[in-house]
Amino acid sequence: MFDLLGVPPQVLFGQLLLGLINGSFYALLSLGLAVIFGMLNVINFAHGALYMIGAFVAWLLLTKLGLGYWWALGLSPLIVGLLGVVLEKTMLSRLYKLDHLYGLLLTFGLALIMEGAFRHFYGVSGQPYPIPDALKGGQNLGFMFLPNYRGWVVVASLIVCFGTWFAIERTRLGAYLRAATENPVLVQAFGINVPVMITATYGFGVALAGLAGVLAAPIYQVSPLMGSNLIIVVFAVVVIGGMGSILGAIVTGLGLGLLEGLTKVFYPEASNIVVFVVMAIVLLIKPAGLFGRER
């Protein structure tokens, strides 16, 4: 087989695939954060914990109720979304008139409570979650081996990301959302119930995190800390893409996943910090982010 810059192609493509999978999770999670930030102006620090709960709900459905992966794929985002609706209605909605910092602190506190609770009951060692039968095995692509489940994660998250982008940028409901992001008072003065839209947006944003959690369960272990490990990188992705930018979140998420993969091949020592280096450079050159608009 040919080598690329002294790197065997299996290694290169293997890392690129890993990068693409990480990027899929970055994209799904930062998309939810972007949607929530755009509409609520809240930096949702509970996002990682809700992703973790998404994975745990899948695991609990399987172990307690015997409901498998495909059930979890529908039910878990629904349950996490409803949890989000309750959190928004009972707590977050009281903070909109205050500084953004309060929303950040509240969601950060909620994340600590949720993670602490799961740690208390399930420990930190992590629970295994099996790959569904239909997605076991893999394809030999000639230049690399592609496990079916990993391929599915990439495809599913791409579909969800671009479906969300389409719904927001190209439909009437999305037009309401964009308009309410810009000028909620006027949208309300047209007769649209903006508080309900805000609640629904938060529910939808965290449901995306729940979905990411289900997709992640068979790849990573289902552990109370799985969210906090990921969320810091996801925040960097959101900053690089531009706060509140939908397309920015998707493209940057996938791009940075791939960049991390490439760094693992060519300069592994830097792979953990490359995202933050990019973030620093982007903030210096374009403070609003690659896809962000100056406010």
Partner: protein, 240 residues
């Protein structure tokens, strides 16, 4: 005012309206009556409370009390998003064209609240400048076109009362003329219009009656056909 108008049904009755932004008390007992099919202006200097009166009708001030009845229904205490659904369209002073929406999306944004609104072809007939601009970003239109779009999107909804806040502000005379023609056509179609204006020469060409506001309440009401006799008084009110 011709006597015929007084027998028309009341569209909007504002009684002893008080409004507050936070701690500051902005309106001190505003009384205004608007009958169906009338064009009524609110005149007054900056800070007299004209815009706040409109925002109070829409329920978008901090706190308000007194009474605002629209077609007999009390608006004070009603949920904000229900007020426009009764048939009140609001065109804010800053126009409120959304930059993240195209011209078409801006036009189609306000939900239809009653049957009998204008169709899109009728709207293009009224504002030919908007035709063929559908995919343009809303805020890339000129100021005059944005004003036309802000009015146009309300006409679709079937609202029978339209609140126009300073539609001529900052526009060139030729555009003001076009807006005036459009407002007169809307009047002919039977819309009831409340208009905030600084420019009373413009207001005089379209209005039936003028309410003069000062320091948060109405100090005078001048029917348009008595405007000439009251010019001196009006000049004093407006400080022009």
């Amino acid at each position: 005012m011709p006597d015929g108008a007084t027998v028309k049904t009341a569209m909007l009755e504002i009684r002893d309206l008080q409004a507050f932004y936070g701690e500051s008390h902005v309106l001190h007992g505003v009384n205004i009556d608007v009958r169906q099919g009338e064009v009524v202006t609110l005149l007054g200097r900056n800070g007299a409370g004209k815009t706040t009166t409109m925002r109070s009708i829409m329920g978008i001030v901090g706190k308000r009390n007194g009474s605002i009845r629209f077609q007999g229904k009390e608006l004070i205490g009603m949920a904000q998003h229900r007020i426009p659904r009764l048939g009140i369209g609001y065109v804010p002073e800053e126009r409120g064209i959304f930059s993240s929406l195209s011209v078409d999306e801006n036009l189609m944004l306000p939900p239809v609240v009653k049957s009998g609104g204008m169709t899109v072809p009728q709207i293009y007939e009224l504002f030919p400048n908007l035709q063929g601009r559908g995919t343009t970003q809303g805020t890339r239109l000129s100021g005059g076109e944005q004003q036309m779009l802000a009015i146009a999107r309300i006409l679709r909804t079937g609202a029978d009362l339209i609140l126009l806040d300073e539609p001529t502000e900052g526009l060139a005379p030729v555009i003001i003329e076009q807006i005036g023609v459009a407002v007169r056509k809307l009047k002919q179609r039977g819309f009831t219009i409340v208009l905030v204006e600084q420019n009373f020469r413009f207001a005089a060409t379209i209005a039936d009656r003028h309410y003069v506001m000062e320091e948060g309440h109405v100090v005078d009401m001048i029917p348009n056909d008595q405007l000439a006799q009251n010019m001196d008084k009006l000049h004093t009110y407006l400080g022009v």
